[in-house]
Every structure is written in structure tokens, then in C-alpha cells.
């Protein structure tokens, strides 16, 4: 059964028209996105880096929450597909103050835009926009509250597949603030759809959401136990505000228990890779020696982000053939 939060992503013929959450997307769709991204990856090195798949189309990056890398990689991805790109970074006043998020989107749609890339601090914001705009408009979720960040998860999957050759038999650990993480939620859906062997969440109980086991993961608070036999280590960013909310006593204690150091990494398999969605808090969730070490693929993630976002945009806009 297609989960209810996924239904809206498909048109009447069952084709993907929005990319809002990975929950409910079939494995073939994910693999297809990864395969197409693979064909785009060499583009970065070519002299002419553009394909005309989105020529004449208008893409709006509608960012109600600050972002550098996600917005930039979306912009580059859209431009390499020959789309016209408009960046709109607006601070949004919540509730009744100011223009509603829907009015902003409708106003931009009236200017004949084709694709919205939406980031907002409220979970469900891109669902809201997708369900109230005309049929022909496409929406990509570039992060909504704590709910989903599906393009980040896809670029993570792309990076894993490149590094590990596939997903079968892999054991993956996701470490840190799962509670507030849209990245973690999307990663979990992607990893389980692509068929990894095991997903483990590691963190203190204050940062692990209730009943998360229902998403098909195992939970532990012990790094030695959690990292044992792990092939892929996915770190999450810990926002410094969490200290104020009494979710973590102090940066020192967090780093002591969950900060990824070379010592702790030694519990994982010798060829385990280390990932982080960025931006990194060095010395809080990860030691510089690990972030910059030879097992880190953090910068590849950023590079891969462009090809994966090109692939997703091309898929939604109908250009599903290889370039």
C-alpha cells in the first residue's frame, strides 16, 4: 500500500510528478534516479556542461529557510539542464502575519513557473504547496521542518552506491540528533527501500524519536556496540540550540559520547565510509581528523548532489532518457 504521505507524488498514470518524500517510492524509481545521476556525473568535467532537457522552463528556488549548499547545488543543477532559475530567499513570518506560504507560491505560479524547489522550517510545507497548485506545476522538497529532505538522502544513496557498489548486505549507522533531523528520516526510508541489511540509530534517548523502531531500525545509545560491523557511518548535525532545550547537557559530554573520533571509528569495519550532510560542527559531532580523513566522503556528497538533483529534476519534468 502506498503510504498516505506519498500518494500526492504521483499523477493519474502513476508517474512521479513531485519529489516530496522517499517514503512510499518504489525501489525502481530510486534506482532509476541513481542511474540517471550516474550519467550526469561526468558532466562536471566536460567543457560544455549543459544539456537542454529543461530549456525554456522556469525553476524557482523558494527558500524560506537559509541554506547555502542545497540552494546552490539546486541552482547549478537547474542551470546545467538549461532551465531559467530564480532564487527567492524569503524570511517567512509564521501564521497570520505577512503573506501566507501558499499565497507566495500561488503568486509565483501566476508568473508561469514550472518547478518549485521548496525549503521551509515547517514539516509538510512542500506537501501543502504541491496539493494546492495547478496540475502542471512540479514541486521538489528541499527540506521541510523535521519531516523530509529527500534529495539529500538520494545524494547520500548515490555516494554509498559509488563507494560500496550497492546496498545489499550493508550495515548503516545514523548517529546523533535523529529527533530533529529531516535528513535522517529520508535516509531511513531510502536505505530500507534500497534493501540494506540493517539500519542502526545511535544517540541519547532525548534525541531519538518515539516509536522510531516502526520505521524498521534498531536503536542503541552505545557507540562501540552501534558501530560494530558497520559499513557506512552517517553523521547528523547537532544544532547548538539543543543544549538550551536540555536535550544534551553540554558540547563536551556530547562529543565525549557521540563525537566521531578515530578511536570510535575503529569499532566500525575497516573500510567503513564516513558521511555528513553538512554543515559540519567540528569538535561537536565529528573530529576534524575524521571529517578530513581518508574515509570521509563528505566532499563527494556535495559534488554528487548536483548530478542527483539534475536527475530528479529531469525525471519530474518528463525527460527520463539518458542525455
Amino acid at each position: 500500500m502506498v503510504p498516505s504521505d506519498s500518494k500526492i507524488q504521483f499523477d493519474h498514470q502513476g508517474r512521479l510528478r513531485h519529489f516530496l518524500t522517499i517514503n512510499g517510492l518504489p525501489k525502481e524509481t530510486l534506482v532509476q534516479i541513481l542511474d540517471t545521476a550516474e550519467s550526469f556525473i561526468s558532466f562536471g568535467q566536460r567543457e560544455i556542461r549543459k544539456v537542454p532537457l529543461l530549456r525554456g522552463k522556469t525553476v524557482v528556488n523558494l527558500f524560506f529557510e537559509p541554506s547555502t549548499r542545497t540552494r546552490t547545488t539546486f541552482e547549478i543543477a537547474a542551470k546545467r539542464l538549461s532551465a531559467d532559475v530564480i532564487n527567492l530567499s524569503a524570511a517567512r513570518m509564521s501564521t497570520s502575519k505577512g503573506e501566507s506560504i501558499l499565497d507566495t507560491a500561488r503568486t509565483l505560479e501566476a508568473m508561469h513557473t514550472d518547478l518549485f524547489v521548496v525549503r521551509d522550517s515547517a514539516s509538510g510545507a512542500s506537501h501543502l504547496i504541491a496539493s494546492h497548485l495547478p496540475e502542471h506545476v512540479r514541486v521538489i522538497n528541499a527540506g521541510d521542518g523535521r519531516h523530509a529532505h529527500p534529495t539529500q538522502a538520494m545524494l547520500d544513496m548515490f555516494t554509498i552506491r559509488r563507494e560500496k557498489g550497492g546496498f545489499e548486505g550493508l550495515k548503516v549507522a545514523i548517529i546523533g540528533d535523529v529527533l530533529h533531523s529531516r535528513v535522517a528520516r529520508s535516509q531511513i526510508h531510502a536505505l530500507s527501500t534500497l534493501g540494506v541489511d540493517e539500519i542502526r540509530l545511535i544517540g541519547p534517548r532525548t534525541l531519538i524519536p518515539t516509536e522510531v523502531e516502526a520505521m524498521g531500525v534498531n536503536v542503541t545509545s552505545n557507540m562501540a556496540e552501534g558501530l560494530s560491523g558497520i559499513d557506512v557511518v552517517m553523521m547528523l548535525r547537532l544544532q547548538r540550540e539543543r543544549m538550551d532545550g536540555q536535550l544534551v547537557p553540554s558540547e563536551q559530554e556530547y562529543f565525549n559520547r557521540y563525537g566521531l573520533t578515530d578511536d570510535k571509528l575503529s569499532y566500525a569495519n575497516p573500510d567503513a565510509i564516513v558521511m555528513h550532510p553538512g554543515p559540519i560542527n567540528r569538535g561537536l559531532e565529528i573530529a576534524s581528523s575524521v571529517a578530513d580523513g581518508d574515509r570521509s566522503v563528505i566532499l563527494s556528497q556535495v559534488t554528487n548532489g548536483i548530478a542527483v538533483r539534475m536527475s530528479i529534476m529531469a525525471k519530474l519534468m518528463g525527460g527520463q532518457e539518458d542525455p
Partner: protein, 431 residues
């Protein structure tokens, strides 16, 4: 002086343990006979109520009418008219209007406007603390004199335990019922859905069960030591039913109510951020829902209310955490409650009592029953008529209901207040 005879209805009057086909004779505003028509009774109006249920008028223990302060959403006139159409003859309104009902003048104004509209009765609740700020007690005795049937802090927590204790003690001096919606404000935080698998899946800020149970536990301890007569409004957790049942078994003077949607929906219905299902307290688990129904069945939760909250169309068109909470519920209260009897989850007499005599008793009004000599507030209902809730059929100014488009059974055919017909279905009773 009008004499009315209602013939052939199945009369369900739980206060008198009466459930039988009978004739009901009304003289002016009073019921003068239930059973055989009294000898020499010459009816000015005879109503053929064959195959209909005759119930005491429904008293909805929690309904927001939006006036004063939010007349763009609804008014006393619009919502009392909608209520009358749905068999509701009395509406109890929380004090969280703007301005807050914390002075006798405000209470008088609301009652005057309700009287002027001439539809369902309105029973205001007065504020427990000035401005609902949880700091200073209101003039409760004078609010009571002005017609407030109880005092309440609405959905705002009184976080200062001493203020709450004093408020309960003071209210008990004048035997004013205290309406509570216990929630621990710290655990509530900025939560919008039940803490569980749905909050985890959707990444929405969550309200743990403990937000309610900590509040209930605290307030029960204060009720015990203050002697206040308390009513816990709008419970959402099965655990709260257990705690309240335990308190009642020790003869604590505490009653409880639940919103009808809590008996029919649960967290799973939220689906993909469907803001129509955003309510406060939040929809909890299917297990909680079963426990709440069981609480109604056993009598621990003696009242089912609509928790009516009409909104304008835009209020729900926002990301889930920013959308307004609440359902416009007066139109559907009766039909949805009857649905629990047709599927045998509740006996009819229990369901009717939860809508009529039980809420009447809590607010201390001598209504909600069909005794001889009682005020003739009643409704006639066709329990089998099928209808669909639609924007057209919905009488409330608010159109915010997750039951929109759903098939419902049970339609009010006539509503009478003090012996006066204030609503009748023209199809069943042509003029």
C-alpha cells in the same frame, strides 16, 4: 398558551430510565404527560412522530461561538441557529473569547445576544483567572450571578499550582463548577500531534501523553484537597480515563467529557499533514480511542461534546504546525454519537444521557430530561435517515470538518425549546 401533542415517537429519556413508544403532551413550555394522552387534553398542534426518536434537547458542553472577537468566523446567531438545526438546545461556551469573559458585563452581553437570536440557549463559562493569565482570580461569585454556569481557564494552563488551588477553593465556596482541561504547559511545548509513530514519521512537534496525565494527576490532587466540584473537559488519553475512574471510585466530585471526534478518529487519520484532523488535545492512538469509548460506556466519562470550533477557510490552509486546531462540530454531534450506538459500541441510553441529562447535571440546570413538569426542550430525530455532510448541508459558519463528504445516519427533524418549535424539517413537517 399552546398545547402540543407529539404522537407515536420512541421516547428515550435516560434520566428517567424511560425508553418506549409514547405520546408526549406539552402545555405552554412544560411537559405535562409522557405515555397516554391526558383526558381532556385539547392539542392546538398535533405532531405525528411515527418512527422518530424523541430525545431531550442536547446540551453541548463545549462549543465556541466566536463572538465576541472573531465574528469573521462565526457569530452567536449563526452558531445557535446551526445548533438548533442539529437538535442542540443548549450550548456551553468557554470564556476564551476576545475580550475574555472575566466580568459579569461580558457574561450578560453574551446571554443578551443569545436571547436576541432566539435559538439554542447559551450558557457561558466565566474565566477562572483574569484574562486567563493564570495569575489573579476573577469575581467568580458575581460571574455566577450573571449566569455563568461554571468557571474555566479555557485551554490555557494555570501553571502556578497555588493559584489553581486557591481558584478551586474559592469556586467551591459558592459551589461553582470548575471546568478543567489539564495540560502540563512544559510538556505541551509547541507540540501539535500525539507523540508516537505519526509524529515520528511526519517530523511534527509532539505532545506526549504525559502532558495530559501530569495535568490530570495534579488537578485531581487539588480537587481532593480543595473540595471543588470539577469537570475535566476534553480528555484524550486512555490513561486519563483510568485516573478519573479511580478518583470517582473514591467519591471525588469530578466528572469528565470527551469530544466526539476523539471517539471516532485517531492519530493515523492525519495521513499526510491533513490539517482538518488537527485538534487540541490531539488525536491519540487507536488504543486511546477504544479506552475513551469504554470510559463513556462505563460512565467514567459521562459527557460527549462537540468541541465546536468554527474557522474560516484559510485557517487550515497552512503547514500543519501553523494551521488552526479544531473542528466545527455542532452539525454532526448527534449523528456521530448515534453511529456509536448502531455499531453497538454504546447503548442508546448511555449515548443519549451523555448528550442530555449528564451535561445538564454538570452545569446545574434542570433540563436534559423529559419528566412530567420538565421544561419542554426536546428534539425529534429520524435515526435511520442517511445524509451527507457537505458545504451546503452544513449549517455552522465554519466549514472545517474532517467528516465533510461522509455518509451519516440520523437527522434532526424538529427542535423545541421551552415548548416552542425553533426548527423543523420542512420535508417531514410541511407547513
Amino acid at each position: 398558551m399552546t398545547k402540543i401533542l407529539i404522537r407515536g415517537a420512541r421516547v428515550v429519556d435516560p434520566a428517567n430510565s424511560f425508553d418506549s413508544v409514547a405520546d408526549v403532551a406539552i402545555d405552554d413550555s412544560m411537559i405535562v404527560e409522557v405515555g397516554e394522552t391526558p383526558q381532556g387534553f385539547k392539542a392546538d398542534l398535533t405532531i405525528d412522530a411515527d418512527k422518530l426518536l424523541l430525545l431531550p434537547g442536547i446540551i453541548d458542553l463545549c462549543a465556541r461561538l466566536r463572538e465576541p472577537g472573531e465574528e469573521q468566523k462565526a457569530t452567536i446567531a449563526s452558531e445557535t441557529t446551526a445548533a438548533a438545526t442539529a437538535g442542540i438546545t443548549g450550548l456551553v461556551c468557554p470564556p476564551d473569547t476576545w475580550p475574555v469573559v472575566d466580568t459579569p458585563a461580558m457574561a450578560n452581553m453574551i446571554r443578551d445576544r443569545a436571547d436576541a437570536s432566539g435559538q439554542s440557549h447559551v450558557y457561558p463559562l466565566g474565566a477562572l483567572t483574569v484574562g486567563l493569565k493564570g495569575e489573579k482570580l476573577t469575581d467568580m461569585a458575581m460571574l455566577s450571578d450573571a449566569g455563568c454556569v461554571g468557571v474555566s481557564n479555557g485551554l490555557k494552563a494555570v501553571s502556578n499550582t497555588l493559584v489553581m488551588r486557591r481558584a478551586m477553593q474559592y469556586a467551591s465556596t459558592y459551589e461553582i463548577p470548575v471546568f478543567l482541561t489539564p495540560q502540563d504547559p512544559w510538556l505541551l511545548g509547541n507540540g501539535v500531534v500525539h507523540e508516537g509513530k505519526v509524529s515520528t514519521r511526519l517530523g511534527l512537534p509532539a505532545i506526549p501523553e504525559a502532558a495530559e496525565t501530569v495535568g490530570v494527576a495534579r488537578d485531581l490532587a487539588l480537587i481532593e484537597t480543595s473540595g471543588a466540584r470539577a469537570h475535566v473537559n476534553l480528555i484524550s488519553c486512555g490513561r486519563s480515563v483510568t485516573m478519573l475512574g479511580e478518583a470517582q471510585s473514591h467519591n471525588l466530585p469530578v466528572s469528565a467529557s470527551v469530544a466526539i471526534h476523539q471517539l471516532l478518529l485517531c492519530e493515523d487519520d492525519i495521513g499526510a499533514f491533513d490539517t482538518r484532523y488537527k485538534v487540541f488535545p490531539p488525536l491519540r492512538t487507536a488504543i486511546d480511542r477504544e479506552a475513551l469509548i469504554e470510559g463513556v460506556r462505563t460512565g467514567t466519562v459521562s459527557v460527549i461534546c462537540s468541541d465546536h470550533q468554527p474557522h474560516g477557510a484559510d485557517a487550515k490552509l497552512a503547514p500543519f504546525s501553523e494551521a488552526a486546531a479544531g473542528i466545527a462540530g455542532v452539525d454532526t454531534l448527534l449523528a456521530l454519537t448515534l453511529s456509536l450506538t448502531t455499531n453497538k459500541q454504546l447503548p442508546l441510553s448511555t449515548a443519549v444521557a451523555a448528550l442530555t441529562c449528564n451535561p445538564a447535571r454538570i452545569i446545574g440546570v434542570d433540563r436534559g430530561h423529559l419528566s412530567i413538569g420538565a421544561i419542554a426542550d426536546l428534539c425529534l430525530v429520524d435515526p435511520t435517515e442517511e445524509w451527507t455532510l457537505s458545504e451546503k448541508s452544513m449549517q455552522s459558519r465554519g466549514q472545517n470538518s474532517p467528516f465533510m463528504g461522509k455518509q451519516l445516519f440520523g437527522k434532526t427533524k424538529m427542535t423545541m425549546i421551552e415548548g416552542k418549535v425553533i426548527y423543523q424539517d420542512a420535508a417531514r413537517f410541511p407547513a
